[in-house]
């Protein structure tokens, strides 16, 4: 198979690139203390929250944007970004789906998330974040009966200030890194989940994020807390319209798992990647970290990353609790001029902690992709174990695939295994499939799907289907 | 020499041996036969001290000492030596080191000093010749890249060097062609003596044509259901284990 054909296989048009034409309430570009005060006021936040934000802002001013990642992009002008954009009519929020702006619902339709149908069919509660505001949260009532809190973070600040105060910033401190500090100062919305002791959340929780307005940055903040013995599976989907300027997305996600708690966090990230010449696309700088505070707690990250012009993202686990478990399963697909520097950190602090990392990278076109991972075994992490597998598949000879795994081992009773391979789709595999009557296109799709199988099987069922569909869209339509 | 009394052994909660009793005296060759899964290998593994086997009842005495209280290496130093069915590959450990370290450990346990190098060399040369092995083999890593037959020869070579008092050979005949079988059997036969006992664990009668046992025991479902002389093995060959199982049932 010719290389160009292979490349074409992965070149695609961005299917989610439309703009929703609704009026929005947008702050002019620029960032200073007044901007932050405006956001805080707009959200009707208590004083402590504003102070927290301002403190983060002061720290951010002293920090430098990190440059160690294998990424190349022009400097970001933080004064050119608008830090707040909410769909109009914030005063009279829809109380049921019927009241939701039909255009919004149409947007979700186009994204393939028919909110009510999908929610009803799959039993998924959806919290949709449109630009900066949480538009609606469904199934709140059913969850309430189980004792699960699932709402926007803004609402949580008002309704459950003690819970927010107790956990916010305890996993990702305000000054953790440049982008986390920025987020702490200006975050506009995001989800809050609290699952009390012993409760297994009765349904999958889900949020869709979408950047719609021009020149806006999106800074959502998600906080999920599972008390002892609690369990939750949370799904997150992201899309953005097609625009020719770059947009910044700097989110923070914090997860806290107490004794025996289990949090499964799945992401399908399909932000606009820019066009094939690298014009436009989302800059995605995300800090995601889970804290396995309790004994035998478990946090599992699964991500399918196909979008964004720039991805800087390392979902991590702090394995503090004895016998706690961290997992990271990732598929990242890059094409065009996309650049992704992604991976994970597993920090083994407690005794008997275990972690598994499975990362699959597929690079094509002129894209560059790096796996960057850290496995750190502390001196007290007796008997800790890690297994890491990161495989890269190259399609075409103008892309790059890189692997930078850091392993810091300070304990003789720990066991680490790391394996990595980089290769292209085997001609013999393709030939074999084709000689069985399968088209080139299907053969590539099959092989790539097979390559990603270990990760897809970690996704909740409906997401797995979506992820495979997304991958097929990515690979479709170019042969012949 | 060895007295196994009402031995019950479990692996992960499943009882494998269910009251096995067996006495072996110096100068005797015993063969334990039985169908797959009867617990044949479990017996020799427990005697050698492999982890993961829980003795829930019964005892094993060796010259009156409680074997279960002895460390793995103590058992070996005292002359209880197991020949593995699947000898483990130990990359990088040269055969010569293993033989020398093992022999010296045994001598130390007997209160003897280390074997002088020339004497050791002479001994090794003689034994590898007996096993029809090439001298280059001494510099190779233990069992690494060995064929099935070479691994089994290596097990017997270790026996010839270490001269155990009770040699336990677990399925030593598996995976051997007829020539290797002859070499291995000759090795085993050369171990036969008045002071020494041999315990053969095997599924097939074939080995027993070469190493004729004094006693044959049939192990079914964790117990010895029948004992006899070499004739019993031939009977098994003719009628299979089903016959025995039926007659017992």
């Amino acid at each position: 198979m010719a290389t160009e054909e292979m490349e074409q296989l992965v070149r695609r048009e961005y299917k989610d690139g439309f703009v929703t034409d609704i009026e929005s309430d947008t702050l002019p570009p620029g960032l200073d203390e007044d901007t932050i005060a405006f956001i805080s006021r707009k959200k009707g936040e208590p004083e402590w929250m504003l102070e927290w934000r301002l403190d983060a802002y002061q720290q951010w001013l002293k920090m430098k944007e990190p440059s160690w990642a294998h990424l190349d992009y022009p400097p970001i002008d933080y004064q050119e970004i608008s830090y707040f954009s909410a769909p109009k009519r914030p005063e009279d929020r829809p109380q049921s789906l019927d009241e939701v702006d039909p255009k919004l619902l149409e947007t979700y339709e186009k994204l393939g998330i028919p909110l009510h149908e999908r929610a009803a069919l799959a039993g998924v509660a959806v919290d949709a974040v449109f630009d900066s505001e949480s538009v609606i949260t469904t199934f709140k009532k059913e969850l309430g009966e189980a004792g699960v809190i699932f709402c926007s973070i803004s609402e949580a600040v008002q309704e459950y200030p003690e819970l927010v105060k107790a956990y916010l910033g305890t996993v990702v401190p305000k000054n953790d890194n440049y982008f986390a500090a920025l987020n702490s100062a200006v975050f506009t919305d995001g989800s809050f989940v609290f699952v009390p002791k012993g409760v297994k959340c009765p349904m999958e929780l889900s949020t869709y994020f979408r950047i719609n307005a021009e020149n806006t940055g999106q800074f959502e903040r998600t906080l999920i807390v599972c008390e002892s013995g609690a369990e939750v599976s949370y799904l997150e989907g992201c899309t953005a319209p097609q625009r020719d300027e770059n947009q910044l997305h700097a989110a923070v996600v914090e997860l806290v798992a107490l004794d025996d708690a289990y949090i499964k966090y799945s992401t399908v990230q399909n932000w606009y990647p820019g066009d094939e010449n690298g014009v436009g696309g989302i800059y995605n700088f995300v800090t995601k970290r889970g804290d396995c505070r309790g004994e035998r707690s478990r946090i599992s990250w699964t991500q399918v990353e196909t979008g964004s012009a720039i991805t800087w993202k390392y979902p991590s686990c702090m394995l503090r609790g004895k016998d706690s478990i961290g997992e990271f399963y990732s598929v990242a697909v890059t094409g065009g001029r996309q650049q992704a520097d992604t991976g994970t950190k597993m920090v083994h602090i407690g005794e008997g902690t275990r972690s598994t990392i499975i990362s699959k990278g597929i690079s094509s076109g002129n894209s560059n992709q790096s796996y960057r991972g850290l496995v750190k075994i502390g001196p007290r992490a007796k008997g800790a174990r890690n297994y890491t597998e990161c495989d890269s598949l190259l399609i075409g000879d103008t892309c790059g695939a890189h692997t930078y795994p850091y392993q810091e081992i300070g304990n003789s009773t720990s066991t680490l295994e790391h394996e990595a391979t980089t290769s292209k789709i085997g001609e013999d595999q393709l030939f074999y499939c084709q000689s069985r009557g399968i088209s080139e296109e299907d053969a590539v799709s099959m092989i790539v799907n097979g390559f990603c199988k270990d990760v897809f099987q970690e996704l909740p069922m409906e997401f797995a289907v979506e992820a495979e569909a997304l991958l097929n869209v990515t690979l479709e339509g170019a042969v012949g | 020499m060895l007295e196994v009394n009402d031995l019950h052994v479990s692996v992960e909660g499943n009882e494998i041996l269910k009251g096995l009793t067996l006495t072996i005296n110096a100068g005797e060759v015993h063969a334990i036969m039985g169908p797959n899964g009867a617990g044949k290998s479990t017996l020799s593994a427990v005697i050698a001290g492999k982890e993961g086997y829980e003795v829930t009842q019964g005892s094993i005495l060796y010259d009156g000492r409680d074997v279960l209280e002895m460390e793995i290496e103590e058992r070996a130093q005292a002359g209880l030596l197991l020949g593995f069915q699947y000898p483990v590959e130990i990359p990088g450990v040269k055969n010569i080191y293993l033989l020398k370290a093992a022999l010296n450990a045994q001598r130390a346990a007997q209160g003897k000093g280390e074997i002088p190098a020339p004497e050791f060399m002479k001994l090794i040369k003689e034994k590898i010749a007996n096993m029809k092995m090439d001298a280059s083999f001494l510099q190779r890593a233990v069992n690494e890249g060995f064929s099935g037959g070479e691994k089994k020869r290596n097990e017997i070579l270790q026996m010839l060097v270490l001269q155990p008092r009770l040699a336990m050979l677990d399925e030593i005949d598996s995976g051997l062609d007829i020539d290797a079988m002859r070499v291995v059997s000759d090795g085993v036969n050369s171990l036969r003596s008045e002071e020494r006992a041999i315990l053969l664990v095997t599924h097939y009668q074939r080995l027993l044509d070469f190493v004729v046992p004094d006693f044959v025991h049939v192990l079914v479902d964790g117990r010895i259901v029948k004992s006899g002389n070499a004739e019993l093995a031939r009977e098994l060959e003719a009628n299979g284990y089903e016959g025995i199982e039926e007659s017992v049932a």
């Binding site: 892309c399 790391h418 | 460390e71 293993l98």
Partner: protein
């Protein structure tokens, strides 16, 4: 005075007394000094030095040796029993009395750098500093600034040298002040030539010097070069080595890099595979005890299609020793049909030992087969059991398996004098609880 300046002052003082010499070499030294001054010593903020702190070197106050006095008996005891050609250096100064290059076949030249410069400086000028000067990492720049002694090995096209060429570096006890030296090795292997170079660092057990060696090796078309670097420097020595190899078409470079000594050790080994069919093999072993710090950074740059690399490094760390491995396989755009394999395995014998490992792949071509694997952990318990069933006590069994772990790297070593030396050293260096020196010694004797 800053750390950098201390070194530059020493340099200035030395060069003040220098006689006339070709301008190019002075210019190169100056470029090195300027570069070093601009860069300064690396710090842990530097990604390449993330796990290695060189403050002790930077703060050190080292003199330059004036002579090559070394007890012949002591030197003889340290010298590897190899039948070959030998150049010896004491604290960087050439020691003719300890050297022997008699009976060299035609087509091969093995001379001290100072002599090569004197004999025909133009012949050296073309290549000297070409590789280490490329991007001048700090220690290479420092070496360049001081460059005046070392070894030059030249092989004519088609020349095959059967006996090994030994470059011996001895570090001695200096009562007043520890010394530093910056030896430079230049190897030019003509097309289809073949040789084995043994670089051996050793010395007085109590010495506390600083060696900053830089090596440049050029392999012509089809040349085959085997490079042993046996580093058993005194435990108080600082040892920094920058080895840069350039390979043309169908050439083969094999590195056996063994680190047993030194308080702080850093090796940077880089091979540029510039011609089709070029092949690099990196074989490494490091063993740290006490508070030893051993850092190995390797890079293979696949700059041409159909090039191959194979790397296997093993580390054993005991006590509070700290091991670092960073291996990078780089495949340039359009370098197709590449195979690159990399493996790093580490064994931690003590709870306070640590290892930081980072095997990297950086790939810009699609028709490649690259893999890397690392493992860190303990010994195989099935093997421990198997040895115990042969009567070995648990400690001896673990000791033997640790030795075996190292032995896998030694299997590739074809010079018995080296593999036996390393094996003995490892056996003897094993923790008291399973010292196996006796066992290996008798076994080695049996081989004779």
């Amino acid at each position: 005075m800053s750390d950098t300046l201390t070194f530059l002052e020493t340099l200035k003082a030395r060069d003040a007394g220098r006689g006339p010499e070709p301008t190019w070499i002075a210019a190169r030294r100056q470029a090195g000094a300027a570069r070093f001054e601009a860069m300064g010593f690396p710090t842990r903020r530097d990604e390449e030095w993330k796990y290695t702190n060189v403050l002790e070197i930077a703060r050190g106050n080292f003199a330059l040796a004036n002579d090559a006095t070394f007890s012949p008996a002591a030197a003889a005891a340290l010298t590897l029993p190899l039948d070959g050609y030998r150049l010896s250096f004491v604290d960087g100064i050439f020691a003719p009395a300890l050297s022997d290059v008699q009976g060299m076949p035609d087509g091969v030249e093995v001379v001290p750098l100072s002599q090569a410069l004197e004999d025909n400086h133009e012949a050296v000028g073309g290549t000297l500093g070409r590789l280490t000067g490329v991007d001048f990492p700090a220690f290479s720049a420092l070496n360049t600034a001081f460059m005046e002694e070392g070894a030059v090995v030249r092989l004519a096209a088609g020349c095959v040298v059967e006996k090994p060429i030994v470059l011996q570096f001895l570090s001695r006890v200096n009562v007043d002040k520890p010394t530093m030296c910056h030896p430079r090795i230049l190897v030019e292997a003509g097309s289809r030539s073949e040789a084995t170079i043994v670089e051996h660092h050793t010395g007085d057990a109590e010495a506390t010097n600083f060696t900053n060696i830089a090596t440049e090796m050029f392999l012509g078309r089809g040349a085959i070069l085997t490079h042993y670097k046996l580093q058993e420097a005194p435990l108080g020595d600082f040892h920094i080595a920058s080895i840069h190899v350039e390979q043309e078409r169908d050439s083969r470079y094999v590195s056996h890099n063994m680190d047993l000594g030194g308080a702080l050790v850093r090796n940077d080994l880089i091979s540029e595979l510039n011609g089709k069919g070029a092949e690099a093999t990196f074989n490494g072993l490091f063993f740290g005890q006490g508070r030893q710090h051993v850092d190995n950074h390797t890079k293979v740059n696949h700059n041409a299609p159909l090039t191959f690399s194979n790397e296997n490094y093993k580390g054993i760390l005991d006590d509070r020793a700290h091991g670092v491995f960073n291996g990078r396989v780089y495949v340039k755009r359009d370098s197709q049909q590449i195979e690159g394999f990399q493996s790093n395995q580490n064994l931690l014998l003590s709870d306070r030992a640590r290892v930081d490992t980072k095997p990297e792949l950086e790939i810009y071509a699609d028709d490649v087969k690259c893999t890397h694997g690392t493992t860190t952990g303990q010994l195989d318990e099935d093997a421990v059991f198997a040895l115990r069933t042969r009567g070995l006590d648990e400690q001896s069994a673990r000791g033997l398996l640790t030795l075996a772990f190292a032995g896998e790297v030694l299997e590739a070593v074809t010079l018995d004098a080296i593999s036996e030396r390393v094996e003995l050293a490892v056996a003897g260096k094993l923790p008291e609880r399973f010292n196996l020196a006796g066992l290996v010694e008798t076994a080695a004797a049996l081989n004779d």
